[in-house]
């Protein structure tokens, strides 16, 4: 940047997907920087959950404790939010949370890449949730699943209007679900990059943006976990519509 002179900040550059083997053509199977970090996430999850629990000790070690904590945390969330009928979705939610939280946290390593900052990734995750909820809902309740759009507690005149609103909100769910996660991660990383750009040209005064980066980094650690949590608990809430008894 220095040779171009002046303040040139390109915070979106870090999200660029580039092939690891060089060149700039990205085919379906091209191994990219994103593929690399997806692989690293798989490795970390394997290390944490398989190697850590390999001894199956009654008195857990550190890694096994983390695995157990994760397990009971998601288990309680599913039980509480989705209800007892949702218990069979526990593995699904466990996979979702584990993958998202690992990707988010790995993305905070300087120089790394966060797959969850890409809408393509979060959109697939959200679309999977949307499809699951819709299919399970119709499978479990048949046409009765449509009853969730018919707010029987409202006055009769209002019900068609409310049904329309409910229907629209139902189809907006995957959009908000995916953009909430992707947008949060992307915005955090972009803000840090902007401050880093300032730090490069401010001389001694750079301590200010560097301190800001440190503060935002702490915040981003929180956001990484909270957004994974939010994504998972929203999935639980949506699943309750499909399997739960009562609605609203």
């Amino acid at each position: 940047m220095a040779e171009e002179g002046g303040l040139v900040i390109d915070p979106m550059h870090q999200f660029q997907i580039v092939p690891l083997g060089g060149g700039d053509h990205i085919g379906l199977f091209t191994v990219t920087n994103q593929t690399l970090w997806l692989g690293i996430a798989v490795l970390v999850i394997t290390l944490l959950l398989l190697v850590g629990t390999a001894r199956r000790s009654i008195i857990p070690g550190r890694l096994q404790s983390i695995g157990e904590l994760l397990y009971t945390f998601i288990h309680d969330m599913v039980e509480e939010v989705t209800g007892h009928d949702g218990a069979k979705f526990f593995p699904y939610l466990m996979v979702l949370f584990t993958f998202i939280v690992t990707s988010n946290l790995l993305g905070l390593i300087p120089g790394s890449f966060a797959p969850t900052s890409h809408i393509a990734v979060t959109a697939v995750l959200a679309a999977m949730v949307f499809l699951t909820v819709t299919l399970v809902g119709f499978y479990r309740k048949g046409l009765g699943f449509l009853g969730m759009f018919w707010v029987s507690s409202a006055p009769l005149v209002l019900r068609p209007v409310l049904a329309l609103i409910e229907l629209i909100s139902y189809f907006v769910r995957p959009l908000s679900h995916s953009i909430r996660l992707g947008g949060n991660i992307m915005a955090g990383h972009a803000v840090m990059k902007v401050f880093a750009g300032f730090a490069g040209v401010m001389g001694v005064a750079s301590v200010v943006p560097i301190a800001a980066i440190a503060a935002i980094y702490g915040l981003e650690l929180l956001v990484a976990v909270v957004q994974a949590y939010v994504f998972t608990i929203l999935t639980c809430v949506y699943l309750r519509d499909a399997v739960g008894e009562a609605h609203h």
Binding site: F15, I17, I58
Partner: protein, 175 residues
Amino acid sequence: MATTEAAAEAGHSAGMPQLNFETWPNQIFWLLVTLVIVWFVVAKIAMPRIGGVLAERKGTIGKDLAAAEELKAKAKAAEGAYTAALESARAEAAKIIAATKADIAKTLAAATAEADAKIEAKSAESEKRIAEIRAGAEAAVAEVARDTAGALVSALGGQADAGAIEAAVSARLKG
């Protein structure tokens, strides 16, 4: 670093890389591969394992608690048995003490009665002897007095009248 990346970037459309839809099929493909692997690792292997460990731990803790409860009950029973044994031993001892006391009292009463009877007999005999002795002594005193009186009378030159002396001595002795 800036130059190579800038060159790479130049090939792509400007703006957000997230909205570069050319990369989407690639991203989605690798994401699905990743999710399948994570599914196997997490749902097929790790979760049954962790669930098993948690259930086993719960079972172990429950078993330990039950065992502790049982041991506690046993200790309580043992304490009860000990207390009961102590209590019965105490009662036994008290009974023995009471019996012995009664026995001793009976023996003592018998011995006392016997001793009393003996003492009674002895003192009766003694009294008899004392009475005899006293009677003997009185007789002896009368005899001596008579003899002395007779001797005195004869010493004074008189003729001792046995009947008079006898009467005088008897009168004196009574007086």
